[in-house]
Amino acid sequence: MSGTRRQLGLRLGPALAIGLTVGGMIVLIALPVAAIFVQALRDGIGGYSRALADPAALHAIWLTCLAAGIAVPLNLVFGLVASWAIAKFVFPGRELLISLIDLPFAVSPVISGLIWVLVFGARGWFGPWLDDWDVKVIFAVPGIVLATLFVTFPFVARELIPLMLEQGAEEEIAARSLGAGGWQIFRRITLPNIRWALLYGVLLCNARAMGEFGAVSVVSGHVRGRTNTMPLHIEILYNDYDVTAAFAIASLLALLGLVTLAVKRWTSRRTASELSLAGATTS
């Protein structure tokens, strides 16, 4: 009797846990994602493409690509350079430097924008000086780029540093002893070892650069067709009750996020299998 009850409990437990998990995830996460695409296509494909072809929307898409096009390559170069210095050499203060690189993650989006207003705003450090030269940073495109640079600063470095620390420097040192130059070592040994993490870091950096809202909102000034990125344009459309158009732009960013996520799962599987392969061949 107690045996059958126990068996029943064992079967009920998993079913209940799986049911609650799946149900909760559908309500909390899957329904909102589905809503983005349903709302975007509410007026059919015609309404969808009309919303995306609007000049203000096109400008927002262009500005978003511009900001990401500047911020991502700069932070990519930084990630490669910093991870080489940090992971291939041993020096005092290494842990501190890694924490400092992670610092922007601890700063909220609004504060990430605020600091640039304090530096370059009308009453900031360089405000009067910029005014003399008639250069606008805040409420203009340079401010948007700087805010994007700050929030996406750690993304590439953070993917590379732990992986490169784990891989160590033996292969590079061996290549050096065989007479390889620094650039050659980096291109032929380091880069192939980190390519999947690098790809994922860049994609994540790009997704955040294109999707950043709070920091960019503080520095942009919200001039339609001038200083609006895609997320800011979504806000304006939404507040104007142009819901279909807001969700049409949102659907593009959501797709970007979903593709980034898919690539992440693919690359992390590649990295895991390559690490275990490397482990199997060396041991």
Binding site: M25, V33, V81, A82, W84, G124, P231, T260
Partner: protein, 279 residues
């Protein structure tokens, strides 16, 4: 000089890469961040206190800290269930479910904000149904709670998942062999081993909630004293050209999130030391 600073290595490029790293870090992160603290130099102690302890600001701290904690607690309970299910059970669609966890990480916050509002507003898929019972979620504190729970969930699941994977199945079996019931095994054997990961996940979700902006402002209604989060108040102060007030509140919030992250670090160091001394 650099050879006495670092351990010698045959690899080239330390000096230029380190110099580039430090200069870039200084220009993009450290100098701009320091402006926040320099800005405080413009304020007297009196005006700082006024800016930071104004009644409207206090109400927004209460709301933000309270709801972030409540949402992180919800995430801890539900996130534990999700992580447990993913690690312990095999079922169709498990991979898809595992991928779904990361969606709040990769979805831009403004997109999450309008999507959540579309679902939970009184004309939305779930909101209209709740409206029949006289329950309103969007434009109330429930809406803020929901957005913060959404945004914090991956932090809890992704910290608990590896900890559950590492649980010792032998200990469980031994406890069962000694006649311990399932609840006793759970409470005495499993739960204590998961406490560090649970606390870390909770703290990460809580810290994220404190600074959240994009996913909250669409669903929150933004009423002063009632549904106005601190991030929004900072933006409002800036729009009213009260730069000093905005900076003062920002320093308080930044201090809070640094303290939380420091606590997580200390906790993890302690756990590592405890585990190290055991092994």
């Amino acid at each position: 000089m650099s050879s006495t600073f670092r351990r010698p290595s045959p690899l080239p490029g330390f000096a230029p890469t380190m110099a580039y790293t430090l200069v870039y870090l200084l220009l993009i992160v450290l100098l701009p961040l320091s402006s926040l603290f320099l800005q405080l130099g413009n304020l007297t102690w009196e005006s700082f206190r006024e800016a930071v302890f104004d009644a409207r600001v206090l109400a927004s701290y209460r709301l933000t800290f309270g709801l972030s904690a409540a949402a992180a607690l919800f995430d801890l309970v539900f996130g534990f269930l999700v992580a447990w299910t993913l690690v312990r059970y095999r079922f169709p669609g498990r991979d898809l479910l595992d991928a779904t966890i990361d969606i709040p990480f990769t979805l831009p916050t403004a997109v999450s904000g309008i999507a959540l509002t579309a679902i939970w507003a009184s004309n939305g898929w779930i909101g209209s149904w709740l409206d029949g019972f006289g329950i309103r979620v969007a434009y109330t504190s429930w809406g803020i709670f929901l957005a913060l729970a959404f945004i914090g969930l991956p932090f809890v699941v992704r910290t608990l998942q590896p900890a559950i994977e590492e649980l010792d199945a032998e200990q469980e079996a031994a406890a069962a062999g000694l006649g311990a019931g399932r609840f006793a095994i759970f409470a005495r054997v499993l739960l204590p081993a998961l406490v560090p990961a649970a606390v870390t996940g909770f703290a990460l979700a809580f810290a994220r909630g404190l600074g959240e902006y994009g996913s909250v402002v669409f669903i929150s209604g933004n009423m002063p004293f009632r549904t106005e989060i601190v991030s929004l108040l900072i933006v409002t102060k800036l729009e009213q050209y009260d730069t000093n007030g905005a900076a003062a509140i920002a320093v308080v919030m930044l201090g809070a999130s640094f303290l939380i992250l420091l606590a997580i670090n200390l906790l993890q160091q302690r756990v590592r030391r405890l585990l190290g001394s055991e092994g």
